[in-house]
């Protein structure tokens, strides 16, 4: 590939009318909003939860569409969602949805609000705190439904 052998192919640099500003090289990679720190991990979580939710969405639309086939077909498939293993999966799914939703709000605040960009680290911990509170509200009730007898 010609792009890789740069040496002889670089166009001549224009005459040095102004000197380049002096750049100091950092000793270690410097964190930015999205690299190497909390911002990066929230980005990673946002991607992973987003992909997971997307594939569940595809399945969920197809299983719900069975209401148009017959009551028996729909009940058979929705019955598998009541199995305890699926119940644990649903808890993880809701955790992913809530984290994606709250972190999405954080991204919007960073994008549109000066305060958000300045305090994005605090906002990240705020997101985690609200997420923990929401999950403490959701998980016990859902797991009680899943693991209780009957219905």
């Amino acid at each position: 590939m010609p792009e890789k052998s740069t040496g002889a192919l670089v166009a001549p640099r224009p005459a040095k009318k102004y000197p380049f500003p002096k750049l100091t090289k950092p000793k270690a990679p410097v964190g930015t909003l999205y690299r190497g720190d909390l911002g990066m991990w929230s980005w990673v979580l946002h991607r992973i939860t987003g992909v997971g939710i997307f594939f569940f969405l595809l399945v969920h639309i197809l299983d719900t569409s069975l209401v148009r086939v017959s009551p028996e077909a729909y009940n058979a498939v929705i019955g598998t969602y009541k199995n305890p293993i699926m119940g644990l999966g649903e808890t993880v799914l809701v955790a992913a949805v809530m984290l994606h939703a709250l972190n999405g709000l954080r991204i919007i605040l960073i994008d549109f609000w000066r305060f958000g960009a300045k305090h994005e680290r605090a906002l990240y911990w705020f997101v985690i705190a609200i997420w923990v509170v929401l999950m403490l509200g959701f998980a016990p009730i859902h797991l009680m439904h899943v693991f209780s007898e009957g219905a």
């Binding site: 670089v10 997307f54 197809l62 719900t64 009940n75 439904h145």
Partner: protein
């Protein structure tokens, strides 16, 4: 033979006319995200937290919800927004990771087909749904079916 511009050469003049699709996709992600937060949190609360939660979900439950236009519109909005938001997010990821042009076109084509097919399927299901299909066992249907 290609030449590489010297460092600090100015960017080429870019097209300034027409609609900036990426900008509107960026805005749409944020707008649909906020709406989806409300729609999905409501969906999760009503379906999983009230009453017997997931144990109460069956044909009769869906029939009861979708005989109300409020929930038909709620679920239809959720369907469209979630698929648009989700497939556009997946497109961003394909843009980031697919280095091969053919693969990238195949992935994005697949995403577009999946989104369009599921939007059409889901919308038809919501609005052609019959909560009291003829010939079905009465104990599987919503309670209001018995009245007629």
């Amino acid at each position: 033979m290609t030449t590489i511009d010297a460092p600090r050469t100015g960017l080429p003049v870019r097209r300034r006319t027409g609609i900036n699709i990426e900008k509107w996709a960026w805005i749409a992600m944020r707008a649909s995200g906020v709406l989806l937060l409300v729609l999905i949190f409501g969906h999760l609360f009503v379906n999983l937290m009230t009453g017997q939660g997931i144990k109460a979900l069956d044909f009769g439950f869906v029939g009861g919800k979708w005989s109300d236009p409020f929930w038909q519109i709620w679920d239809c909005a959720m369907l469209w927004l979630a698929l648009i938001h989700g497939s556009n997010g997946m497109r961003t990821i394909v843009n980031d990771y697919a280095r091969n042009r053919l693969l990238s076109v195949i992935f994005k084509g697949g995403l577009a087909v999946a989104a369009v097919v599921l939007i059409i399927l889901g919308t038809l299901v919501i609005f052609t749904f019959d909560p009291c299909p003829a010939g079905a066992a009465a104990n599987l249907l919503p309670s209001f079916c018995a009245a007629s």
